[in-house]
C-alpha cells in the first residue's frame, strides 16, 4: 500500500439547495484515508448530490470540502485529484478502451500513460480488449473499463456512483468481490453511493445512512444492523419486527422489563435510548426462534405463511393483536412449522433493540430491496 500524502476527506457543514428544495442539509462527515465508505439511502436522499459535490460536478450552497488540510471547495472538477465511476459508465464512445483508460493520464501529461493504462486493464482483467470500442463490450466489461479509467489515475478519493446498478445479480456479486480486491491492492479511499443495503454492508467498512438529505446514522455495518438508531435504519437495513412497548421497570442482570401488548419482555438496559418510556421494541427476523429455546422473551401466535428459500425458511406469525411478525429460521435440519400451526416465538434479551416511539414504525420500509 503506497503511502499517500493526502489524508482524510472532510465534509464540513456541506449543504446543497436547489430552487425549490434542499437536497442535502448541512452535513459533517470525516471519511478516513484508505477506507471503503458507503453512502446508503433511498433514491432522492441526497447521496448522489453529496458525491457530485465531492467530485466538483456540483457547487455546494454552503460548507467546505477538504482532503487532509487542503480546501478543495472552490476548485473545478478537473483540478481535483478525485475520480468518479459513473452510474452510466460515461465511457467515450469514439475512443477505444485503451484511449478511454489513458484519458486522465494524458490530460495530466503522464509520459507513461500507455503502460499504466495497460496495467490498469490487467488489473480488471481486460487486457485483451484494449483496441475495442466500448460499444463492442458487454455491460460488465464496460463497468470494469469505467473502473480502470478511474483507478489508473490513483486519485486521493475514488467515487463510485451506483456503479453496479445496471448489472444482473450474479455479475454484481462478482464485481463486488472484484472491487474489494482492487481496493485492497491499491489502498485508495473509496466512497460508494448505493441504495442497495446488502451491497453497502458487504463492501464497506463504514456506512453513512442518509434519508431526506440528512445523515441518519453512521457506523460499521454490524453496528448499524444490530443497533439501528432509528426506525428508518432498522427498516432500510434488513427487516425488523417492531413491537409497541412501554418501559415497565428494572429487571435482573442489567436488563429492563418492557410491556408489549400485555406481555412482559426483557431488553438489555443499554439498548434503550435515554429518557424513553414509550418505545418500539425491535427484533431481527433471524434472531427469533420458533419454540421456547430462543430465550426468555416469548410470544404466542399462529403461522399464516411459510416461504422456503433453500438456506432458510421465512414464517409470518400472527400475534393475538393482529400484527404479523417475520421469523427466519436456518434450514439446519430442525422441524419446520406448517401454515396454521400455533407456535411460540422466543428470543434473547440481548437481541432486542429499542427505539423512540415518536418515530413512524414504517419509515424506510419502501426502501427495502
Amino acid at each position: 500500500m503506497a503511502a499517500r500524502t493526502s489524508g482524510d476527506l472532510k465534509l464540513v457543514g456541506l449543504s446543497k439547495s436547489f430552487e425549490s428544495f434542499t437536497a442535502v442539509h448541512p452535513l459533517d462527515l470525516v471519511i478516513p484515508e484508505g477506507s471503503f465508505f458507503a453512502l446508503l439511502g433511498p433514491s432522492g436522499c441526497g447521496k448522489t448530490t453529496t458525491l457530485r459535490m465531492v467530485a466538483g460536478l456540483e457547487q455546494p450552497t454552503e460548507g467546505r470540502i477538504l482532503i487532509g488540510d487542503t480546501d478543495i471547495t472552490d476548485t473545478r472538477a478537473h483540478q481535483r485529484n478525485v475520480n468518479t465511476v459513473f452510474q452510466s459508465y460515461a465511457l467515450f464512445p469514439h475512443m477505444n478502451v485503451m484511449d478511454n483508460v489513458a484519458f486522465g493520464l494524458r490530460r495530466r501529461g503522464d509520459k507513461d500513460a500507455t503502460r499504466k493504462a495497460n496495467e490498469a486493464l490487467e488489473l480488471v482483467q481486460l487486457g485483451e480488449v484494449a483496441r475495442k470500442k466500448p460499444s463492442q463490450l458487454s455491460g460488465g466489461m464496460q463497468q470494469r473499463v469505467a473502473l480502470a479509467r478511474a483507478v489508473v489515475n490513483r486519485p486521493d478519493v475514488l467515487l463510485l456512483d451506483e456503479p453496479l446498478g445496471a448489472l444482473d445479480l450474479k455479475l454484481r456479486r462478482q464485481m463486488q468481490i472484484e472491487l474489494k480486491r482492487i481496493r485492497q491492492e491499491l489502498g485508495l479511499t473509496f466512497i460508494h453511493v448505493t441504495h442497495d443495503q446488502e451491497e453497502a454492508m458487504t463492501m464497506a467498512d463504514t456506512i453513512a445512512v442518509m434519508n431526506a438529505g440528512r445523515l441518519e446514522q453512521l457506523g460499521d455495518p454490524a453496528t448499524l444492523y444490530e443497533h439501528p438508531a432509528s426506525t428508518f435504519v432498522a427498516n432500510f437495513l434488513g427487516q425488523s419486527n417492531l413491537l409497541r412497548a412501554t418501559v415497565a421497570g428494572p429487571g435482573h442482570h442489567g436488563e429492563v422489563l418492557v410491556k408489549a401488548h400485555e406481555s412482559l419482555l426483557r431488553v438489555e438496559a443499554d439498548h434503550i435510548p435515554a429518557q424513553c418510556t414509550d418505545i418500539w421494541l425491535g427484533v431481527r427476523p433471524e434472531k427469533l426462534r420458533l419454540g421456547e429455546h430462543g430465550g426468555p422473551n416469548r410470544l404466542e401466535g399462529q403461522v399464516t405463511d411459510v416461504s422456503f428459500s433453500g438456506v432458510a425458511t421465512q414464517y409470518l406469525v400472527r400475534m393475538p393483536w393482529g400484527q404479523e411478525m417475520t421469523v427466519v429460521q436456518q434450514n439446519d435440519g430442525s422441524d419446520r412449522a406448517r401454515q396454521g400451526d400455533d407456535v411460540t416465538v422466543s428470543w434473547a434479551a440481548e437481541h432486542g433493540f429499542a427505539l423512540d416511539a415518536a418515530q413512524a414504525a414504517d419509515a424506510g420500509v419502501e426502501g427495502e430491496g
Binding site: A77, L91, P93
Partner: protein
C-alpha cells in the same frame, strides 16, 4: 428477405405450402417500396445528366440546331476561359462554409444543451427565414448593406470599411457590390443548413460524457476538443456539405450583392444557358463544376473519416 426469414423462424408448426406463399409475396415488398424512388431518380436525375452530358459534346448553334460530334475539347476550352470564376466560386463557398460553421456551432450548442424549454422556439426561429423566398431574403441584404444605410454608416465610422478595403474584400468605402457582400449573403442564406445538422448531433451528445472528461482532468477547452467536437463531427460534416455544395453553385448572391469582379460559376452557367444560348459550353461548365465538387467532397469525407464516427 426479412419477411421470409421471420416466417421461417417463427413458424416451425406451419405446413410447407403455407410457409411458401408469404415468402414469395414478401420478396416483392422491398422492390415495390424502392420503385417510386428509383423511378423518380431515373426520370429526374439520371436522364437529365445523360442529356446534359451528351449536350456538352455537341456542336452547332440555336438557329441551325446542335449535332453530336464528341467534341471533348470543349472541356479544356471551358476550363481555360472560366477558371477564375470556378476558383472564385470554390473560394467563396469555402469561406462562407467556415463562417457559417463558426456562427452556427455555438448557437447549435446553446440550443441543444442549454436552452431548456426555449429549445423549440429557438429552432422555429432558425427555420423561420424559410417562410420567405430565397430571392427576397437576398434582396433584403441589399437594403441592409445599402450605401446610405445605418450599417454602412456604422462600418464607415468605426473604420471597418477601411479594413475591408485594405484586405481587398471591398473596392471602395461602401459595403454593397463587393466580395464582402457576396460572402455575407452566402453565409446568411446557408446558415440554417449548418445549424440544423449540428443541432441534431449536439442534441444527442450525452452531457455526462463532458462531465466525465472534466472528472478526468480535462479543462473545459480540452473536454471540448477531445469529447464534444469529435462526437459532433457527423453534424459538422453534414453541415459543411449542405453549405459548401449549394453555395459553390449559387448564382443569386453574387448577382444581387456582387459586382463584375465577383462573378461566380453559377452565374456563368446561367448566362450561357439562358442568354448566350451556348448550350454545349454551359453543359460542359456544369460538368466541370460537378466533378470539382465531387472530388473535393470525396477528399473531405475521406479525411473526416465519417465511417469511423459513431
Amino acid at each position: 428477405m426479412t419477411a421470409g426469414a421471420a416466417t421461417a423462424g417463427g413458424g416451425p408448426t406451419l405446413t410447407g405450402p403455407a410457409t411458401r406463399r408469404p415468402v414469395r409475396r414478401g420478396r416483392w415488398i422491398p422492390y415495390a417500396l424502392l420503385a417510386p424512388g428509383l423511378l423518380w431518380l431515373a426520370v429526374f436525375f439520371v436522364a437529365p445528366m445523360v442529356t446534359l452530358g451528351s449536350q456538352s459534346l455537341q456542336e452547332g448553334n440555336v438557329d441551325e440546331g446542335y449535332a453530336f460530334t464528341g467534341n471533348v475539347g470543349i472541356y479544356g476550352d471551358a476550363l481555360r476561359r472560366y477558371w477564375p470564376q470556378l476558383l472564385r466560386s470554390l473560394g467563396y463557398a469555402a469561406t462562407a462554409t467556415v463562417l457559417t460553421l463558426l456562427l452556427a456551432y455555438p448557437l447549435a450548442y446553446f440550443i441543444a444543451q442549454k436552452a431548456g424549454r426555449w429549445k423549440n422556439i429557438l429552432l422555429v426561429l432558425v427555420i423561420a427565414p424559410f417562410f420567405t423566398s430565397f430571392l427576397i431574403r437576398t434582396l433584403a441584404w441589399r437594403t441592409i448593406l445599402s450605401d446610405t444605410g445605418p450599417v454602412t454608416e456604422l462600418a464607415q465610422r468605426t473604420g471597418f470599411t477601411t479594413v475591408l478595403q485594405a484586405v481587398g474584400l471591398t473596392n471602395n468605402d461602401t459595403l454593397l457590390a463587393s466580395k464582402f457582400a457576396v460572402i455575407c449573403g452566402l453565409t446568411y442564406n446557408f446558415l440554417p443548413f449548418m445549424i440544423l445538422p449540428l443541432y441534431a448531433s449536439l442534441e444527442r451528445l450525452d452531457s455526462r460524457l463532458v462531465e466525465a472528461a472534466g472528472d478526468l482532468y480535462a479543462s473545459p477547452w480540452q473536454a471540448f476538443r477531445r469529447v464534444t467536437w469529435p462526437l459532433s463531427l457527423p453534424g459538422v460534416v453534414a453541415g459543411t456539405l449542405l453549405t459548401f455544395i449549394p453555395s459553390a453553385g449559387d448564382y443569386i448572391n453574387s448577382r444581387l450583392l456582387g459586382n463584375t469582379q465577383t462573378v461566380m460559376i453559377g452565374q456563368v452557367i446561367d448566362s450561357q444557358f439562358l442568354r448566350v444560348l451556348d448550350y454545349p459550353l454551359a453543359a460542359a461548365l456544369s460538368f466541370v463544376l460537378l466533378i470539382m465538387i465531387v472530388t473535393l467532397v470525396a477528399f473531405y469525407v475521406r479525411r473526416a473519416g465519417t465511417e469511423e464516427l459513431v
